[in-house]
Amino acid sequence: MFNNFANIIYSGTATESDNTDYSLSGLSKKVTFADLDDTFILDFDAVDISSYEDITLQLSFHPHINTAGTSFLTIAVGSDTYTITKFNSGWNHILIDPAAYNNLSQITFTGKNAGMVMFMDLLGYRKADNSTLDFDIIDSLKNKISLDYDVSTTLAAAITAGTNSISLTDATYIFPNTQLTITDGVNTETVKMLDSSTIVGTFTNSFIAGDTVTANCPVVGEDEIGEDYDPICGLVITAKEAKSLPFVDKSLTGSKVREYTSDLGITLYIETTAKSKVLQLTNEFNFSYGKKFLIILDGEIVQVESSSSAFSDSELGSLPRQAYFYTISPQAVTKSQRIDITDFQIEMESKEWS
């Protein structure tokens, strides 16, 4: 389970801006610490994160300055200040234990090198929650995958809000259960076809003839597979296997022994009535994602690799389908925690041998 800090307001003497050129999520914060001790302050809605496992964020520094042994950056969280003395090139995954923060509302970064530029992404707090562990992966895949069905047309007749009739200029490759997005440039509405001239439910907005209609290939998990969209990119959990793979995660305050406790078998399938469109979507998927791609899972970048793929043609009245098979480990659970020793005192007393 991963949560963002809510309603963040940025301030401080450092210069900050949104950046899309260099990021993990598609949008990072670029922060320039022009002068020594410039600050980048994040104020957000107060939150009790003491029951969570980590504050997690990804930081990257440009140009890379090797200042081993000297203070590079400080991060103030609540009443604690963490000093960073070195970073690796590229993205650095930073973890901070949140056990002490039952009312956190601010995090402050202070630059210790004038002219330093920092990129920040995927800031939040997380914990392994048994109820969401598996479906977090499905959500991550849904956030990553996007397919263009490449079917657009226009309305042949006006639509009145509250009605369910629809008339399209060209209904090629638009079937019962096709999801459509209709827009007039101001209002946008997404509906599902019931049959060739009716939608499921009724329209919320009115539209005029000539407004744009786009057919979608929605990416859905099991909770929505029953919608039977056509086309559809479905994600289904097909197997769960127990395993034990422990490892050590280093944080700014110590380390945690974590363990991957299971593997999840996931099938991703692309399906629609028209075989040519299944093949088109498959080609797009292979080009955009291929055998391996990266997803964001609980604040981390995880590589996903397809073990195999298979095509099944239309049989028994079923629709043609291309499927990809994955094995992905859900977020690791924390088994134990170690805290760095900062003070170590030994008292010694001399005694005579007897």
């Binding site: 597979i225 039977d228 097909t238 593997d263 078998g265 099938t267 049989e315 499927a323």
Partner: protein, 187 residues
């Protein structure tokens, strides 16, 4: 007894030749073990696949692991030797039907999952509803499709097989046989 580096190099070369000569047999042995492993895991329901639905229980009149009804599909898995000495495992024949469909098609459908038409307004949907009604299963009037989820039983079995030590043991067994045979010649 090996008396010098030249003889040792010759021994290593001969062992490599023996491995190459037996490549097909070694790989067929490995493929056979995988086939038996996959069938055994599927029959014992040890792949972690979702259980069959109550509707399927009613239709089959039997509660059994997913992928296993009469076992006909599993029995049709075969291994295919390739020209380069490798062996591909997990094939289904293109000919030979189970019921009305070839085993290969059934395997693909089961692996990928599929939808059965159930639209009350379509001919196919009416046929499906009629069949299900004879089994005591009655669908909601608005149901248009029945979803059968994917069951990638062979891919899951391959993953489990990879994590096991069976393949390593087979290769070691062959290695011991080959090395022992050659070593005897140098005693």
């Amino acid at each position: 007894m090996i008396t010098g580096i030249k003889e040792f190099k010759q021994l290593v070369k001969n062992i490599e030749k023996d491995f190459e000569k037996n490549k097909k047999n070694i790989n067929m042995d490995r493929a056979t073990q995988f086939r038996e492993f996959a069938i055994d895991k599927t029959r014992k329901n040890n792949l972690g696949l979702k259980p069959i639905s109550e509707a399927t229980v009613k239709i089959q009149e039997n509660r059994h692991p997913r992928m296993f009804n009469s076992g006909e599909l599993l029995d049709k898995i075969f291994n295919k030797p390739n020209a380069d000495g490798s062996v591909s495992s997990g094939y289904f024949p293109e000919s030979g039907k189970i019921g009305k469909l070839p085993a290969m098609v059934i395997a693909a459908l089961q692996t990928n999952g599929y939808k059965i038409p159930a639209d009350i307004n379509s001919i196919k949907g009416k046929r499906v509803r009629g069949f299900l009604a004879t089994k005591g299963i009655f669908l909601n009037r608005n149901t248009k499709w029945l979803n059968v989820p994917p069951s990638p039983f062979l891919f899951d079995a391959a993953r489990l097989y990879e994590h096991s030590d069976i393949d390593i043991k087979i290769v070691k067994k062959w290695a011991r046989q080959i090395v022992k045979k050659r070593a005897k010649q140098h005693v």
